[in-house]
Amino acid sequence: MNVLLFGITRDITGQSRLTVPADAGINTVAGLKDWLGVHYPGFKQLKSLAIAVDNEYANDEDAIGPAQEIALIPPVSGG
């Protein structure tokens, strides 16, 4: 499962996208958040970190899989 990164999440990871290994067994937004917290403690310093699935903000209980476009959304600052 690939995860797109933007803004400060690219600085924290040093990458522009993450690949979550299939054997991590992640199939919900909450599961992805837990996995990210373990592997990238820097995310915990952020004011917030949302997950987008197919261009919409997702809830913790939403199912996710490799067919969807998944992205990390750190606090926005447009405008």
């Binding site: 797109l4 933007f6 803004g7 400060i8 600085d11 310093q45 952020l46 004011k47 987008a52 261009n55 919409e56 903000y57 476009e69 992205a71 959304i73 750190p74 606090p75 926005v76 600052s77 447009g78 405008g79």
Partner: protein, 136 residues
Amino acid sequence: MLIRLVEHIDLNEAFAYLNSPMAGAVNFFIGTVRNQTKGKEVLHLDFEAYDAMALTQMEKLANIAMHRWPLVGVAVIHAIGAKRPGTPVVLIGVSSAHREASFEACRFLIDELKKSVPIWKKEYFEDNSVWVNAHP
């Protein structure tokens, strides 16, 4: 609806789109790069967008505004890339028959854009750079 991510914001193009013999009122909000943040001089800014999602969310907000107020037209345009102080970086434009609706919808759209549209601003100072709003 005119929903765009652009390199340069063109005010006249937006007005030409919004202006209509059916509309008596057009309200614009234009956000520009300020030359300081908390007293520190900003040399330039860089705007990055998650393009597909930003456009989806901008369109969603425009649709909400079109349903909530009797509007003739809506434009939501954000610039991306490196910008210097004084440059327009966001334009909200709303036309309506009467002015109340255009003012209220324009204010709603810029407030909501700042809350939910996935665009990120990095400010460059003399000695460092900061992703705005990232940390508590």
